[in-house]
């Protein structure tokens, strides 16, 4: 109706979010999948010498084929991202702002202190996603609630030790995928993937309206990629993001884990917010209930179009999936909120067909 824009002023515009349909159609793959390893806060996955490694708190674990974990490194601060250079050096970013390349501390510009993702080009150039200039990586939820958009992408050419910013004003870049002449960057707070030109830093939209908060991106052999999504979009959270007074009062007076905000896992405490649809009825927690956390790994084809996805829904536990990587024909998904790594046979799932 033509009157709607006028009436909206009085009645309030309905808040809508993109549906979990099409390639994002929900299934229970992640909860059905066998657990590969149970480690707390399993975060960033990578492949080192044909073996899976994962960051977990301030530790880096290495896994054998059976999923047996052995500690590889230990750091002073929580690890925010790991990556391996083409020549096999482990690069680790820490929450205290440090970047360690093969154990060596790199000297970083002052504003590069919230590294959320690291990626290498084949020529050894390192690309860094800096989530925000105002918050450390562990305070991502604060950054969202402050509605910041001060993230940036940085570049460091092999052997130079210098870091150059190639683009900024990003709303929490949280994953990088390196292509020949451009990067694909996931922008969590804007629910989208963008293409960033390596040389000019010019941004272009690639995939919009992701029904969640995208995190890291990893390439697959067939030229596609996996995008992990650590939390679903939620209409109440979208409302709170528009309610300035309530949001700031909440940030000031409510403990962070009980905010109305996305989370890596939910339902652990009775002090957490609950939405009407999330109440347990007749012993059942509805899988489609509104939730603050979820698990989702989305396969994208070579043109960055989503094809299918694996989910852990509101009643599942493998939530907070921040990293997914394909290795030897299997997909490994790290659920930071679910404290585990699960493995699924790569390829199109039954539900995705």
């Amino acid at each position: 109706m033509i009157f709607d824009p006028i009436l909206d002023i009085f009645r309030g515009k309905t808040i809508t979010i993109p549906p979990m349909d099409g390639a994002f159609r929900a299934n229970t793959d992640l909860d059905d999948a066998p657990s590969f390893a149970n480690i707390d806060h399993a975060d960033n996955l990578a492949i080192l010498d044909d073996r899976l490694i994962a960051s977990s708190g301030n530790l880096v674990y290495e896994f054998d084929d059976k999923g047996k974990a052995s500690q590889l490194h230990k750091f002073d601060s929580e690890i925010t991202a790991i990556a391996l250079s083409p020549d096999g050096r482990l690069t680790v970013a820490l929450d205290n702002g440090e970047l360690l390349i093969d154990g060596e501390k790199a000297s970083l510009p002052a504003s590069l202190n919230c590294i959320t993702a690291i990626a290498y080009s084949l020529d050894g150039t390192m690309w860094l996603a800096n989530g925000s200039t105002k918050n450390p990586a562990s305070s991502w939820v604060v950054d969202l609630m402050q509605k910041n958009a001060c993230g940036s992408i940085w570049k460091s050419e092999s052997g130079t030790g210098t870091f150059n910013q190639i683009t900024d004003a990003l709303a929490w870049p949280n994953g990088i995928l390196v292509h020949d002449d451009h990067l694909v960057v996931s922008e969590s707070w804007r629910h989208r993937l963008i293409r960033v030109d390596c040389a000019t830093g010019i941004k272009e939209n690639l995939l919009l309206h992701i029904p969640g908060y995208p995190a890291r991106l990893t390439p697959t052999l067939d030229g596609g990629s996996w995008m992990s999504v650590f939390a679903p979009r939620n209409r109440l959270i979208e409302l709170v993001l528009q309610e300035t007074h309530y949001r700031y009062d909440m940030m000031a007076s409510v403990p962070r884990q009980f905010w109305i905000a996305p989370a890596l896992s939910s339902g652990n405490s009775f002090l957490e917010p609950l939405q009407c649809g999330g109440m347990k009825l007749m012993g059942v927690h509805k899988p489609w209930a509104p939730s603050r956390s979820c698990g989702m790994a989305v396969h994208l084809d070579s043109s960055m179009k989503p094809t299918h996805s694996h989910h852990s829904r509101a009643n599942g536990h493998r939530h907070g999936t921040c990293s997914a990587i394909e290795h030897d024909g299997r997909l490994y998904v790290a659920a930071k909120g679910g404290n585990c790594i699960v493995t699924i046979k790569a390829g199109k799932s039954e539900a995705g067909k």
Partner: protein, 707 residues
């Protein structure tokens, strides 16, 4: 408290927003728009035209108005029945001519002329009714055809016989009296209109044929399925329209003693505009005679006013057309969106600052600290029952509970594996209690207070109390009776949680947080129900103190327990004895050791407590999000808390896993075991209480050993 927050508190607690929603619920708000239009029209033209309100001017205007109103009443009835009658212009003219011809040409008495006019109207109306009602032709086209044919006949007649009538010397005092005189300050047309309008109104609103008309207009198929003779009903609406129009034609004839080629010209458009502007729905089924009359006044004042202000017929037609268009648009938009407007307006949250509660988290070391003991409770009736809000045991150890299907289910002692439907009540049986004669008394959600005898006879005890003086929506009715307890003298004390929402909408009440809960008492001796206390935020569980001198009741959304004194110096007064609990209390029942068990249906969350201080945010939440997305108290964790008369917290039981007893709404101690119910659950829990009196039962504690 910041200035902004204080402002919010004033704004949302002092301005009674909820009244708007309650007024919108009333059917008569449909009349508001035409009524405002009526006042505006009369005021506008009254101030513009000198002498508009003078006696003579009013007399002339009202004569015309009387005739016109009769036509509109007829058309209104047709429209209420789902039809439309465009033929009124022709009927009016032909009836007027019939009266003139009978009186002036044939020189017959006035009553014959009257009959002739009425008969003409009825016959044409019957033709319309037959074609539309029985042959089932389209009302619009049929009446249009009748209009054209009728007008053609009228014009032929008037051309051939008009002059004869004018030259006639016949006169009659009665004729002139009807046309010109005044009875008790009213002209005959006005009196006739008042009488016809009154009878029609009574018939439509209070008689079987009238209801049939409204039913047919509302939905032909439903009316047919309900056994109404749709065709006959439609037929008679046109006959009635013909009758009133014929009557109007006769009055017109007596007033002017003649007819011309313009008689009744364009009357159908005027009448239709009047009926629609008054607020009668074109779709049928919705409207009233009063609305028709309001529309008639608006249209007539407007057309006559425009003529007297010197505007030509073109302007007049234009104004009518615009008026009709506006009215039709409003009618359709309002009909379509009324419930939406109501939905958006109804929830009117208030401001509340809850004080910080002691923590109930495991390991917090407070008295309220929850544990995991309830997760070990065994299940009774798992998956067989849905929503046992309250549970109770009788002297024979049988277990009773209500279900959301409106049944009271009985589980048989000793193992509670067998069950039967003890009685079907309907509604949602919530609180339960046994009286001295072992009748099971229940608060039934959305229905009232009911009694079930041991031989399963269900009787309603009470469904209403006295209406309060300031209520807009009738608050005498019990919308959410929740829990009860019975005093030794047989008086039944019970709560009605909210006046604003029905029982199943209790989630909305928590969002709004307005205090409208009541404590009531039912006296079985005279069957009366009295309101004792009012204005609490969701009154819930009720329990007689062990000494029967007072009773405890919960105020759920305020997380408080109140004590209402029945005897002693504070008799008739309530005091808050426990406030700021970390959980939302539900039912309270007696424990064997002189304490009381209290159920927590959910837990306070910091985010929800904060939202109570942001009423504007909650209002926007209800408007911008679907209900499933709303913020709500955390009812996925509840618990059981035992307290004593000095309000010491003795013990707590919780299920932090949330797997078997997430939300607890009731519990009963019986022979050392605790039976646990939950309105959102599909089982009854059975928990062995440590160190409990293995012989204690509530029926004995309340009513003594059976004699």
């Amino acid at each position: 408290m910041t200035f902004r927050e204080r402002l919010q508190a004033w704004r949302y607690n002092l301005v009674p927003d909820h009244i708007i929603g309650e007024i919108l619920e009333k059917r008569w708000t449909d009349n508001a728009i035409p009524f405002v239009a009526l006042i505006a029209t009369v005021a506008a033209f009254g101030s513009q035209i000198p002498g508009f309100f003078s006696l003579y001017s009013l007399q002339e205007s009202t004569r015309q108005l009387g005739e016109f109103s009769l036509v509109v009443i007829g058309l209104t009835v047709v429209m209420l029945g789902g039809g439309i009658d465009l033929a009124v212009g022709a009927i009016f003219a032909l009836s007027a001519f019939a009266a003139i011809a009978t009186f002036f040409i044939f020189a017959l008495p006035v009553w014959v002329a009257f009959l002739a006019a009425i008969t003409t109207g009825i016959i044409i109306g019957a033709i319309n009714g037959y074609l539309i009602g029985y042959i089932r032709l389209r009302a619009f086209l049929t009446t249009l055809v009748i209009l054209i044919i009728g007008r053609a006949i009228f014009e032929i007649l008037i051309v051939n016989y008009g002059s004869i009538a004018q030259m006639s010397q016949v006169s009659s005092d009665i004729w002139d009296y009807i046309g010109d005189d005044i009875i008790l300050g009213f002209s005959v047309p006005v009196l006739t209109t008042i009488i016809v309008a009154f009878i029609t109104h009574i018939a439509l609103t209070r008689s079987r044929p009238g209801w049939h008309v409204l039913a047919v207009g509302g939905s032909r198929r439903s009316a047919h399925n309900a056994g109404i003779n749709v065709r006959r009903t439609v037929f008679f609406t046109y006959v009635f329209s013909g009758f009133t129009t014929g009557l109007a034609g006769f009055l017109f004839a007596t007033r002017l003693s003649g007819t011309g080629i313009g008689t009744g010209h364009g009357l159908e458009i005027l009448a239709l505009t009047a009926a629609v502007v008054g607020g009668n729905s074109l779709g049928g089924g919705r409207g009233s005679v009063i609305k028709g009359l309001m529309g008639a006044v608006i249209v007539l004042v407007m057309t006559n006013g425009l003529i007297r202000l010197g505007y030509g017929t073109g302007t007049n037609q234009m104004v009518l057309g615009v008026l009709l268009a506006v009215a039709v648009t409003i009618d359709i938009r309002w009909l379509k969106n009324r419930h939406k407007v109501l939905n958006e307006m109804y929830v009117a949250p208030v401001y509340l600052k809850m004080d910080d509660a002691p923590s109930a988290e495991a390991g917090s070391g407070t008295a309220f600290e929850l544990n995991n003991r309830l997760s070990k409770a065994r299940s009774i009736g798992l998956g067989e029952i849905e929503g046992p809000e309250d549970v109770i045991l009788d002297r024979n150890d049988h277990l009773y509970c209500g279900t959301r299907h409106g049944e009271v289910v009985r589980f048989f002692a000793p193992d509670y594996t067998e069950s039967e439907v003890f009685a079907h009540v309907g509604g949602f049986p919530l609180g339960l209690a046994f009286d001295r004669d072992e009748n099971l008394i229940s608060c039934v959600g959305a229905m009232g207070l009911y009694s079930i005898t041991p031989d399963r006879k269900v009787t309603r005890l009470s469904a209403e109390t006295r209406r309060s003086f300031t209520s807009i929506v009738d608050d005498a009715v019990l919308r959410d009776p929740n829990d009860l307890d019975i005093a030794p003298d047989g008086l039944i004390y019970f709560t009605d949680s909210t006046k604003r929402y029905d029982a199943h909408d209790w989630t909305l009440d928590s969002i709004e947080n307005r205090g409208t809960g009541r404590l009531l008492v039912y006296d079985p001796k005279d069957g009366s129900t009295k309101t004792l206390l009012d204005g609490y935020r969701y009154t819930n569980g009720v329990c007689m103190a062990h000494d029967n001198k007072s009773l405890y009741f919960c105020e759920t959304w305020a997380c408080s327990i109140h004590r209402y004194w029945l005897e002693g110096p504070k008799a008739g007064k309530a005091e808050c004895v426990l406030r700021n609990m970390p959980g939302y209390p539900d039912n309270i029942n007696r424990a064997s050791d002189g304490g009381y068990w209290m159920a927590w249906l959910g837990m306070r969350t910091p985010s929800f407590d904060l939202s109570l201080r942001h009423p504007a945010m909650r209002k926007r939440m209800t408007r911008r999000l679907p209900q499933d997305e709303w913020l709500f108290p955390n009812v996925n964790t509840g618990g059981v808390v035992k307290f004593d008369d000095d309000m010491n917290i003795i013990t707590t039981l919780g299920d932090l896993t949330g797997l078997s007893h997430p939300s607890v709404t009731s519990m009963r101690e019986h022979k050392g075991q605790l039976f646990i119910g939950g309105i959102l659950n599909n089982r009854i829990g059975l928990y062995d209480i440590e160190n409990a009196d293995k012989n204690w039962t509530a029926p004995v504690a309340y009513w003594g050993e059976k004699s």
